[in-house]
Amino acid sequence: MTATTLQPPQVEDEIPAFRPRKRTALGTISRIVLYVVLIVASAGILLPFYWMIVSSLKTNNEVFTVPIQWLPSVPQWQHYVDIFARTEMITWLQNTAFLAVVITGLQLFTGSFAAYGFSKGRFPGRNILFLAYIGTIAVPWQSYMIPQFVIMTDLGLANTLWAMVALQAFTPFGVFLMKQFFDTIPEELSEAGRLDGLSEYGIYARIMMPLSIPAIASLTLLSFTFVWNDFLGPLIYLRNPDIWTVQLGLRTFIGQYNADYSMIMTGAVLSVLPVAIIFLLGQRFFVEGIASTGVKG
């Protein structure tokens, strides 16, 4: 199954032949080969997800049977009910939803506000401050997580959900994404607003933000995804089980039920599902947001 991902050189060999951009330049045979390559690659990429879903619907004994069973004999839908009884899934979902909403809201506000300053403002030190933001791209969080933890502890935030809010609400990512978009909005619009007597805050709120809906959508979806998937932040900051997020809860659940494969897969499906739905509905915004900044949150 992983054959396609295991052997990139084979794919690489075929690229130059397909390089011409126009569809007319591709011969029928090469196009068929291209489709075969892509379909096999896609199947390889998606196979783990198929395995995950199918295993969650199997009985535990069926998961590793020989030969591999590609469909469950009788789908065990009750796993998706049982998991709520056997875990604190509701609490985890509530905590994660709370974080996703608060962090995304703060990122949108502080990120777009700062982006307006960096994009349209004229004041001393602007470029140096922005350079400080860019510089942090090269600095891994893992290298300063200990001093950061100490500061959080001093602020009394460690072991509260607010630690996660503080950790993720002010990342440079939102600033980059919004600034990229603001830079493309012509200055004439702001000038027109200024002539009409709008303050800078008025221009931000009534001209820039309404024009930036696509960027706002991108930031909202990406931010939600990062918060939902984050594992390291919660691992370090959220010690009490009643403030665990879905990822942290799932991790513990895996440790406790390490032989109950189908139940673990049920948890895995549930932890992937919300983001998968959001991604499929709004993928244009994911793609544009990533392509315009290239920076992870």
Partner: protein, 303 residues
């Protein structure tokens, strides 16, 4: 912001206007910058203090000079973590780059259904690392589908990958490539779209075949993108942590222990904040040094 205000204000008013504009400018940046400075810039600076102290939970921080670094030099676990990090990077960076570039080139041929393939390739990147780690661990298990598949080709008696000292790291690298290639593919696709199609037409008229067009038009046109992607990929590989933590927890033994995990263990498990900070300084300096090196190399290529 200050450039045009109706009419030309007298000099003094222009001065106060400048101050006013600066205050407005700072007020926009402040909400984000205060959080950013307090939780990113200040910790980075503090790191260089903690790294030179013997601080742990029981004692306060006493300045101990280079003691921590001398201890690191003698610490076999640290060297193991460092070499494992380099091992991971040495394979993860080129493999991800080649697969991401290949996928991007395939999807840039204007074929039908490419947005579907793009979605598929990108999908692993947005899924929870805990979930995919547990799935891959099952796929890689002793009697799992991957070993069954390999048995068809005569590769029998393979152990569970993540339980084997030899195969654990390759397994983690493969999952890392699988997860991240779609993300870098998107960046490269965006870069490909900036190459003017006239360049390809001109090259074709000059008789350049597809291979020559790839090397003389595509690669030079992609240079800025590939540079950025390589920098991001390098930093991402050097700091690799959560994937390994959830897949192997550094094991078996120390077969997949990486630098970030060493920092985590020393700091958060053993509570040796000072010693952990000194190893974090090493990670910090490696990332900065490689980024600076890549920048200089890129500039020299440019000129």
């Amino acid at each position: 912001m200050s450039s045009t205000v109706a009419g030309a204000p007298p000099a003094r008013r222009r001065g106060t206007l400048k101050v006013r504009n600066a205050i407005i400018g700072y007020s926009f940046i402040a909400p984000n910058f205060i959080g950013f400075a307090l939780l990113t810039l200040v910790p980075v600076i503090l790191l260089f203090y903690y790294g030179f102290t013997d601080w742990n939970v029981f004692t306060g921080a006493t300045f101990t000079g280079l003691d921590n670094f001398q201890r690191l030099l003698r610490d076999a676990s640290f060297w193991k973590a460092l070499t494992n990090t380099l091992y991971y990077s040495a394979l993860h960076i080129p493999l991800t780059l080649v697969t991401a570039l290949s996928l991007a080139l395939l999807l840039n041929t204007g074929l039908r259904g490419r947005s579907f393939f793009r979605t598929v390739a990108f999908f692993p990147y947005i899924t929870s690392i805990v979930a995919i780690a547990v799935v891959w661990n099952m796929l890689f298990s002793e009697t799992g589908p991957i070993n069954r598949f390999l048995a068809i080709f005569g590769l029998t008696d393979l152990p569970g990958w993540t339980a084997s000292a030899q195969l654990a790291m390759p397994a983690v690298i493969l999952v890392g490539v699988w997860r991240e290639m779609g993300y870098y593919m998107l960046l490269i696709l965006a870069g490909l779209q900036t190459i003017p199609s006239q360049l390809y037409e001109a090259a074709a008229i000059d008789g350049a075949n597809a291979w020559k067009r790839f090397w003389n038009v595509t690669i030079p046109g992609l240079r800025p993108t590939l540079f950025f992607v390589t920098v991001m990929l390098t930093i991402g590989s050097l700091k690799v942590f959560d994937l390994i933590l959830v897949m192997t927890d550094g094991g078996p033994g120390q077969a997949t222990l990486v630098l970030s995990q060493f920092i985590y263990q020393k700091g958060f498990i053993e509570n040796q904040f000072g010693y952990a900070s000194s190893s974090a300084i090493v990670l910090f300096l490696i990332c900065i040094a490689i980024t600076v090196f890549q920048f200089i190399w890129n500039q020299r290529k440019d000129s």
